[in-house]
């Protein structure tokens, strides 16, 4: 067989096999692995599973479904060195290599837990291309209560329509938004409910202040005056002045309080802007350092030299590949002879052993060259990624500079405003001091005749001042309560509540629409998947099943033709073991046909024993037909009396 027609499988120290063993599988045909019990058939099957399916997602534990399946199939390294596991009990490591003309895959497992792989990437091989009694497919068909296995059904079936995943993602986003909007709406409504209380408190305070002022005015009026008319007039003037000044001082105090609040707010804004600038400057510095590092790496890379090296290596590879074709032709001529006359010159002799050895040398050279080309191409790709990153950094620095300039502009205008507010405050405080002096003087004059009343007036003024402060605090709280902020957008509270209610209603309706579309799509993909099952089932020509199908909840059903052609609909776990194997087999082929990203190999291990012996020819013929029509290489293990393990092509008997 030429390398174009076969896979070469090299195994070392896998499971029950100690040392090396080589096998050949005929491509796009059904291959039967024969051997006695406990001779290592499953070890060969596992070797093939490892070299096709053990990717980084399993090794690093990134995909739980795949890790679980690797465990089910017994591909995971045993913990500790005492028990025999996937590595032979007496060996420290195990190796598998699979190749044909186009591919080379390798895996090496060490007892210390290290796994090295080559060319095994992003594969769902174990899920879609393997059937053993431990496979999830067989378990899902056999055990209806295993929810985890059922969910893999729905996971794969729903993948048939990529829109399903998109719709599910959209539903999740709607749900996320609904949760945030609802939560905010509750907060807004709570805020609104506090407004009447604050208003009531303000009214009470207002009344109290009014009452205190009236009381104080009455005291001012009651101040005793001298009987002398001239003096009486002067005192009356003084009393009026005192009243006016006291009122004026209250207004001044209010204004000063507002000014102080404004100044505090401005200072906070300036501080925040300065902090933002510091943060941005640090980011810019990091980006500049990264850019320098990248530039250094890009400058040290000689693209032309690498390109010409790759070109040179490619040329050499083509030459060597041309030579290997000649060697294959020569080996074809030799067939089973060891030494024949050269058909070209007719003088010299060609020897089979030497030709094979030289061919192997040539292939080793090609492998070596391909490795060098891969390394160089990777270097080129790496530099291209770095060049893109460098450009991206320039853009990021530009954005940061723009943001820093904006913040500097904001700080300048805030500082101007702060200065002017501070001057205002200073002026107002001076005016307040003058007022306090005036009041003090007036009170001193009036105090001579009315010491107690003046004390009472002062006491009342102090009370009014305290209450006024409280009033202002509450008033500003009320003003703030009328507004809300969401995503840096300031809104009137009442309007915000209306808008949020509208938004929630809209999103709920949109979510419903998406749910309906998803339900329709789900129905369609189940129909599509069922059609695929029907197609494969009709090709198997199995007479006992009329139909195998999923219902709307991804539950697998079988229409079984019983005695007297009676049709019974049941779930497959109610079938006999050999019938469940057939259902699993059909399901495996549908999955492989639909989802395997590399559907070139299928492994069926320990299943032959479950088959009804009368059905062997029927099933094997179908698998052979399937392998040929779909371009898939199938390996099935079968217990036999042969002394050693052998893989043969199946032929109808």
């Amino acid at each position: 067989m030429k390398l174009t027609e076969k896979y070469l499988l090299k195994i070392r120290n896998i499971g029950g096999i100690k040392g090396s063993k080589n096998f050949e599988l005929k491509m796009n045909h059904l291959n039967v692995l024969l051997g006695q019990n406990s001779k290592g058939k499953s070890s060969v099957a596992k070797a093939l599973m490892l070299v096709n399916g053990m990717d980084q997602e399993i090794i690093k534990g990134l995909n739980q479904i795949k890790v679980q399946e690797a465990n089910n199939l017994g591909l995971v390294l045993e913990k500790g060195n005492l028990r025999a596991g996937i590595i032979h009990a007496e060996a420290d490591f195990a190796e598998v290599e699979l190749k044909n003309e186009k591919i080379l895959k390798q895996i090496k497992l060490k007892k210390n837990g290290e796994i090295e792989i080559y060319n095994i990437d992003n594969t769902n091989f174990l899920i879609t291309s393997v059937l053993t009694p431990s496979s999830w497919i067989f378990k899902a068909v056999s055990n209806p209560s295993d929810i985890k296995n059922e969910s893999i059904f729905s996971y794969y079936i729903s993948k048939l329509n990529t829109n399903i995943e998109l719709l599910k993602g959209i539903e999740d986003i709607f749900n996320k938004n609904l949760s945030v909007l609802n939560q905010k709406l509750i907060e807004f409504k709570k805020q609104k409910s506090t407004i009447p209380t604050i208003k009531k408190e303000l009214e009470t305070l207002e009344k109290e202040i009014k009452k205190l002022k009236e009381e104080r005015d009455n005291y001012i009026k009651s101040l005793e005056t001298n009987k002398n008319n001239t003096l009486k007039k002067q005192i009356e003037d003084l009393k009026n002045k005192l009243k006016n000044k006291t009122d004026e001082r209250e207004e001044k105090l209010k204004y000063i309080q507002i000014l102080r609040k404004n100044i505090e707010k401005l200072k906070t804004e300036i501080y925040n802007n300065k902090e933002n600038i510091n943060k941005l400057e640090k980011q810019r510095e990091n980006l500049i350092n990264r850019k320098k590092e990248l530039q250094k790496q890009i400058l040290s890379f000689n693209r032309e030299e690498i390109n010409s090296k790759i070109e040179e290596l490619n040329k050499k590879r083509y030459e060597l590949q041309g030579l290997t074709n000649i060697f294959y032709s020569v080996l074809d001529v030799l067939k089973n002879e060891n030494d024949v006359l050269c058909p070209v010159c007719g003088i010299g002799h060609i020897n089979s052993e030497i030709t094979s050895k030289n061919l192997q040398n040539l292939k080793n050279q090609i492998e070596n060259i391909e490795m060098q080309i891969r390394e160089l191409t990777n270097k080129k790709l790496d530099i291209e990624i770095k060049e893109k990153e460098e450009k991206n950094i320039d853009k990021q620095i530009e954005d940061i500079n723009r943001e820093i300039n904006n913040s500097i502009g904001t700080i300048n205008s805030l500082e101007l405003e702060l200065n002017s507010r501070e001057i205002d405050l200073k002026n107002e405080e001076e005016k307040l001091n003058e007022l306090n002096d005036d009041i003090f003087k007036l009170e001193n004059i009036l105090k001579e005749n009315n010491p107690e009343i003046i004390n009472k007036i002062n006491e009342l003024s102090y009370k009014i001042e305290i209450k006024s402060k409280e009033y202002m605090e509450k008033d500003s709280k009320l003003k703030l309560s009328g507004f809300v902020e969401y995503e840096n957008i300031r809104m009137d509270l009442d309007i915000a509540i209306k808008k949020f209610e509208h938004l929630i209603d809209l999103i709920q309706k949109s979510k419903k629409k998406i749910e309906n579309i998803r339900e329709e799509a789900k129905k369609k993909i189940i129909d599509d998947f069922n059609s695929l099952i029907s197609r494969i089932l009709s090709e198997t020509k199995l007479s006992e099943f009329k139909k195998i199908y999923f219902d709307g909840n991804y539950v697998l059903n079988v229409q079984y033709i019983g005695l007297n052609n009676q049709i019974k609909t049941m779930q497959p776990y109610a079938l006999s073991e050999s019938e469940r194997v057939l259902v699993s087999l059909i399901f495996l082929l549908v999955l492989n046909k639909t989802f395997a990203n590399n559907k070139s190999i299928i492994i069926i291990d320990n299943i032959y024993e479950y088959l009804d012996k009368l059905r062997e020819n029927e099933v094997f013929q179908f698998l052979e037909n399937y392998a040929q029509s779909e371009g898939v290489t199938i390996l099935i293990t079968k217990t036999d009396n042969t002394d050693d393990l052998i893989i043969t092509n199946w032929e109808k008997r």
């Binding site: 959209i170 995503e487 009137d492 309007i495």
Partner: protein, 43 residues
């Protein structure tokens, strides 16, 4: 265009598979922000 039309247009894109989940999220957020900012401007 009002918010209903904007969201319907977005759903249309989903139906025609013209938008990814990430971009859908970004566009929906923008639509919501624009709608809420209208309040801000009136204010």
């Amino acid at each position: 265009m009002n918010i209903e039309d904007e969201i319907n247009l977005l759903l249309e894109k989903v139906n025609k598979k013209q938008i990814s989940v990430n971009n859908f999220e970004k566009e929906l957020t923008e639509i919501i922000k624009r709608y809420l900012k209208e309040v801000d401007e009136i204010d």
